[in-house]
Symmetry: C2
Subunit: 383 residues, 2 copies
């Protein structure tokens, strides 16, 4: 059976990227590798939409989230966490670990945090110094209004931090243009690389906060995630620690592919795949969870009485299609179909087709062809 | 020109490992991947010589060093750092970042820290709770007497932490047998994988210190490196964060290769390569820097008046041989020839041959064949 991966991370990597990973290992302190670091950093800057250096950290995406938290805040600090799901909750968990008071602005799963809620929170907590947010909430498939948040924070002292892990490269989030202060992302989503690298960029405003924190008598306690080290080494196109250099060399190829497609085309492709996936909902007899859906994944609510985990099993065992279920309290209750990075429309169509084949086994009747036709129609309409 | 990598990390990876890295990306929350995690963790336990869980962290080796520091100590704590070079100095840097007083026991470059120095330091600083050490000091090619340190700490309250990054899998360091409390290593040395993964295991004694620290009013401030998360997830063969899963799957193959060779055979192979490399010194007219040399790399002192960096350039440009130079104050003054992991004797011979070819260009006369013959003789004698 032919396997197809449509999970919201890790996502598939292009063939040329995978083949690069099979090439012999090379030394990382060399002119050749510095040239790769230079090129990758410049290309990441285009994806981030920033003139600031985009730093590459060998870590999971959470590592870059920790770098943001530990460099921007010290114990006793206060931050506002805009929470629309599990990944927003991660910011809260990071605040707790770092002794930071987290003001939680939480919305029900499926909803986005409105900018007005941030406005209100800032009025109530003017002493909060950081706002943590999530571009694409991978747990619910919701996209949050980052531009709206930035419009509020850009003329205030607060630093706006965005978890862009499953959103950057999928939907616009131009850091400098919108006035976003910090963006973090990971390698294994729209950047079309296996997991292992995380990325982070800071605005001038954010760097000032970081520098001030390190000048405190009780400065940030971190060595591996000390962002000043990454920034300073990048001036010589170098890294502070032995980087996952084979991944960095492979990233170069994935970024080339992304930028050859063009950012606008890439966003449009994701929007079309998303429109197609959402259009399948009616034919599949399932509702969408997200009220403001992300273009990176579509989340279907599993019909009452049907075990979502069992559907995943049938999709994988009988059709080779790997999509994701829900996490924590959403486990068994939702299906998460990713359409980002190197996943294309025809794979989305295949996944919808497999759902049409599988759902009747669970007593959930569908009209064969209705969902795939709706998919095709929506994709055609957005051409 | 055929490239050959003989740097002390990253080292070459076996072909089957590289090819695994080119396979399609898969989902990490699956029975298949949990089986890989289980197998890899068991195999790592054999290499570490411990029944404790060996935890895999997506990070450079320094990430695991940070995990040890941040989990075992809190600001205001005191640790003894046994420093025989740049990598021992890294422990000092970590202590500083975490607000820990570092008692430095430093020896000149090329020497090992004698266990008697630890004995003395502990008598003077009985309030130190952690001892940081280095198995193979990659900066100078020195091996330290970890067994000797452990004999001192095993019946005392202090926790012995070993940086095994370029030593584990090269020379014996059986954690449980010797009574070592914490061992950290990285993927890119004797474990024959590209960089990107770090590993750490803790004795029961060390775990007790960690648990006590997290129960403090001012506990360790870390989320990504909270070792309890890794340990607890491992019980279900899972990971707390998205792991670099393609590297983990490739590691499985490198570990199989290592264990099929057998640990004792592997140590013996490294000892023979090391004997051969050291034997080349006389013929090359260069002294060894290390008084107690590591079996993972051999460090030659560059003859007076010769620029070591220039030798590196000739080796690489004219012969495709990549060895390493010195770092910091040793830059230009030493040559570091690695013989670890997937590097074999014939590559060591090639590097020695290239040195015989290159050195005369720098006014340093050698008798062609003398060094390679000595190499061959030593390798034969240790068969």
């Amino acid at each position: 059976m032919k396997p197809r991966l449509l999970c919201p991370g890790p996502t598939p990597a292009p063939e040329e990227t995978l083949l690069e990973l099979a090439r012999p290992v090379t030394f990382h302190r060399s002119a050749q590798f510095r040239a790769v670091v230079k090129e990758v950093t410049e290309d990441l800057g285009k994806v981030f939409g920033t003139k600031q250096p985009v730093m590459t950290i060998t870590a999971s995406g959470t590592g870059a989230m920790e770098a943001a938290t530990s460099n921007l805040l010290v114990p006793g600090g206060k931050a506002i966490c805009l929470i629309s799901g599990r990944w927003g909750e991660r910011w809260r968990g990071l605040c707790k670990a770092f002794g930071v008071t987290a003001i939680e602005i939480t919305v029900p799963y499926g909803e986005a945090v409105p900018p007005s809620a941030l406005e209100k929170a800032l009025a109530e907590h003017p002493d909060a110094t950081v706002v943590f947010s999530t571009l694409s909430e991978t747990a619910t498939g919701v996209v949050n209004d980052i531009q709206g948040y930035a419009a509020i924070t850009r003329n205030r002292p607060q630093v706006l931090v965005v978890d862009g892990i499953s959103g950057l490269g999928v939907m616009p989030c131009p850091m400098d243009e919108w006035g976003v202060d910090v963006v973090v992302t990971g390698s294994q989503k729209a950047l079309m690389l296996p997991p292992g690298l995380a990325f982070i960029a800071l605005s001038e405003k954010a760097w000032k906060v970081v520098e001030a924190n390190y000048a405190l008598p009780n400065p940030p306690r971190t060595f591996y995630f000390d962002l000043r080290k990454y920034r300073d080494n990048l001036k010589g196109n170098d890294t502070p620690f032995t980087p996952a250099n084979t991944l960095v060399k492979a990233l170069r190829l994935s970024l080339k592919r992304l930028l050859e497609e063009g950012l606008e085309n890439c966003y449009r492709r994701h929007a079309r795949m998303a429109a197609a996936a959402r259009a399948a909902a009616q034919g599949l007899g399932m509702e969408l969870l997200a009220k403001t859906p992300s273009n990176g994944l579509t989340v279907f609510k599993v019909p009452a009485g049907v075990d979502g985990q069992a559907i995943l099993g049938v999709l994988e065992k009988e059709h080779g299609i790997r999509i994701a279920g829900g996490q924590d309290v959403l486990k068994g209750k939702i299906l998460r179909l990713a359409h980002m990075g190197y996943i294309d429309f025809f794979e989305v169509l295949a996944a919808v087709s497999a759902l049409e084949l599988a759902l009747p086994k669970f007593g959930h009747a569908v009209t064969p062809g209705e969902a795939v036709a709706a998919c095709q129609k929506a994709y055609t309409a957005t051409a």
